[in-house]
């Protein structure tokens, strides 16, 4: 009796959920077929708009960055559309979830290229996405424009591939040069085992040795580690002048810094970007006082400040000002290209290579012959009294 009731219940429950889903889908489709609404509520006609694809992780571990990319891109597109679009045609963004992996990114790219017939893809965000899309987009002469991928391998992935974010090749040598300039000879490197951090480490080691320094300890810890005593003991053994703390994310970096100090390592330390996170400073407390780090520049241009204000108003505090700026710029660079070339991607490609002094919200820059940006927007910062100040 009871069992029968259970069974009936689940069937009814299942069927009703199914009906709800189907109903929701139908409503969405009807809404979709009639109009597509932009964020400002302005109606965009599907016909005759210029389609831009966006591939970025919208779910999964990297989703906070992907969502920031999507939001910043939407802000720029809405601005352009509210001013009448490009040559009288409106821009239509088609976002796709690349989930930070090659398989989903390739599916997304195939869909954008073959079904939506986009000629320009903004993305990917994770280097793994960009590297997997490149072999699909390049032969079809699709412009692939990344604003977040840092792998040096992307530089030679193809002619139609561009990016306006710094690569591992930009970060690491600056770090090595700064340390040498400060007179440090013996460095200990502690790296998180992730693609960005390991990329920086490999290039840093080569460059630092070239400049006459020695690496006295080179320790790697796995992603998400909370205990670093083994690595720290080896760092202590090496007796370094300086420590290069090289994490991928803010939490592990902060914990590492804290444990270094707790175990009596008082050597000054240098790091890359993670200390820009207020969470890291809060977690590490006095351990990071006086620490110096290399970071992407804050948006100091007037347009950049205005953009961040707008972003804060609409979306909340950005994960990184630079990502917002780079994504915003990306849309405007593409807008310039579309005005000149319409959707002829060979023309767009040639045009992008000619850009030398583009004044964007992240600063003034252009593109090198491999599609990377020609100016590096990095600056040294230091933690003083719990807040970061810019050194140069």
């Amino acid at each position: 009796m009871n069992k029968k009731f259970d069974k009936n219940f689940w069937y009814v429950f299942g069927t009703s959920v199914g009906i709800i889903v189907v109903a929701v889908l139908i409503v969405m489709m009807i809404v979709d077929l009639s109009t597509t609404k932009g964020l400002t509520g302005q109606v965009i006609k599907n016909k005759d708009s210029i389609k831009l694809g966006l591939i970025t992780p919208l779910t999964g571990d990297a989703a906070s960055f992907g969502q920031a990319e999507l939001d910043a891109t939407n802000i720029a597109i809405d601005e352009i559309n509210s001013k009448g679009g490009v040559n009288g045609r409106l821009l239509q963004l088609i976002p796709e979830d690349g989930r930070c992996n090659g398989r989903d990114a390739t599916s997304a790219a195939q869909k954008l290229i073959n079904i939506d017939k986009v000629r320009i893809i903004l993305g990917g965000a994770c280097s793994g996405e960009t590297l997997a899309i490149a072999p699909i987009s390049e032969p079809s002469k699709i412009i692939l424009f990344a604003a977040f991928s840092s792998s040096p391998k992307i530089s030679d992935a193809g002619e139609y591939i561009f990016r306006n974010s710094p690569t591992d090749n930009d970060w690491a040598p600056i770090m090595a040069e700064t340390l040498t300039k400060q007179g440090y000879k013996k460095v200990a490197v502690v790296t998180e085992n992730t693609d960005y951090a390991m990329g920086v480490r490999d290039i840093f080691k080569v460059k630092f040795k070239e400049l006459g320094g020695t690496i006295v300890a080179d320790e790697v810890y796995s992603q998400g580690s909370k205990d670093f005593r083994t690595q720290i003991l080896k760092v202590k053994d090496g007796n370094p002048d300086v420590i290069f703390v090289n994490p991928q994310d803010d939490v592990s970096g902060a914990l590492l810094a804290k444990q270094l100090r707790e175990l009596g390592v008082n050597t000054p330390f240098y790091s890359a970007f993670f200390l820009s996170s207020p969470k890291a400073i809060e977690l590490a407390g006095s351990a990071v006082e006086g620490a110096t780090y290399l970071d992407v520049r804050d948006l100091s241009t007037n347009a950049g400040k205005a953009l961040i204000e707008e972003y804060k108003r609409e979306k909340g505090t950005p994960v990184s000002e630079f990502i917002i700026g780079a994504n915003y710029d990306r849309v405007y660079i593409i807008k310039g290209a579309l005005e000149k070339c319409s959707e002829d991607t060979t023309c767009i490609k040639n045009y992008l290579y000619t850009i030398k002094n583009y004044e964007g919200v992240i600063g003034t820059y252009g593109f090198k012959s491999n599609g990377d940006m020609d100016t590096v927007f990095l600056s040294m910062k230091r933690i003083v009294n719990g807040t970061s100040i810019v050194l140069e």
């Binding site: 398989r103 290229i113 079904i115 085992n193």
Partner: protein, 291 residues
């Protein structure tokens, strides 16, 4: 062109159907709760890439080596876990997938660690290279048809009946004088072999691999395929691969407001799976319940 997109999806369906059917051989037909199947997929992918790219071995040889080496790992796994069953076996094999994942991540001189291996070449046979996705699709379909046919024959042979008996009554079978350890190790080695060649097909298609492609979330994906399709049903696994790979793609065509796009698609996807499982608790074509 719509064909290009469909070809891409069919290639994925082809690769994942081999993976799912091979998991089903261990999980459904033999009753081995193998959570380490994704590790076999990864070993196959890395082996094939390292052999073709670094050692210059022709693709087809590397493809077979990938299967055979994975099969050896299958034996190691079954040997190491020979005294475990049920939930304990599931945990131990899950551990195996973490071990392999760490190996891919940390053995950077061979696997390039977290940086992954980009620019993997498309397969070539005796000087003829696969030039486009249509040819790759034909190649994948041939390989998956052969693989699934072999597994179908195995499952329906007298050997397959013994495997089913291992699943249903291990002790009873031993009382009849059968060596169930040998049966299990053969089953897992065959299963691992096909997972390995599926990995090879995957790596040479996507052309970029990194350890995150072979992580825990992927174990869940292939388990979902097998469970939705029905335990111990080859037909079920194939149908289910179509569903599991294609439903998320269909959802790409719903224009959901972009602020909730990612999560909304995932929720709808989860609801659809839930409805299927509630409608057919043993999976679409399943006849057996696993304890």
């Amino acid at each position: 062109m719509i064909e290009a997109y469909l070809i891409h999806l069919l290639i994925l369906v082809g690769i994942y159907s081999v993976l799912a059917v091979s998991l089903n051989l261990a999980l459904g037909n033999t009753g081995l709760m193998n959570m380490g199947h994704i590790a076999f997929f990864g070993i196959g992918a890395y082996t094939s890439v390292i052999f073709t790219k670094d050692l210059g071995v022709p693709f087809f040889a590397a493809f077979l080596i990938a299967g055979l080496l994975t099969s050896v790992f299958g034996f190691i796994l079954v040997y190491a876990t020979r005294k475990l069953r049920g939930d304990y076996l599931a945990l131990a094999t899950l551990g195996f997938s973490f071990v392999i994942y760490s190996l891919m991540l940390n053995w950077s001189s061979v696997t390039r660690g977290p940086l992954g291996i980009p620019g993997i070449s498309k397969p070539c046979f005796f000087g003829l290279c696969i030039a486009n996705n249509l040819q790759y699709l034909i190649f994948v379909l041939i390989i998956s048809a052969i693989s699934i046919a072999i597994m179908y024959i195995i499952v329906n042979s007298s050997f397959g009946k013994l495997l089913a008996a291992t699943r249903d009554d291990d002790i009873g079978l031993r009382a009849l004088g059968k060596n169930t350890f040998m049966l299990k190790s053969k089953a897992l080695m065959i299963s691992a072999f096909f997972a390995g060649i599926a990995g090879s097909l995957f790596a040479h298609y996507i052309t970029y691999i990194d350890p995150s492609s072979f992580m825990l979330s992927e174990v869940i994906l292939i388990f979902t395929i097998v469970i939705v399709g029905g335990i111990a049903s080859i037909k079920g696994s194939i149908v289910s691969t179509f569903l599991i790979i294609l439903i998320p793609e269909l959802l790409r065509f719903l224009n959901i407001p972009s602020s909730v796009l990612g999560p909304a698609r995932q929720i709808i996807y989860a609801l659809i799976l839930l409805v299927i499982v509630l409608w057919r608790p043993k999976g679409l074509f399943g006849k057996i319940d696993l304890e």
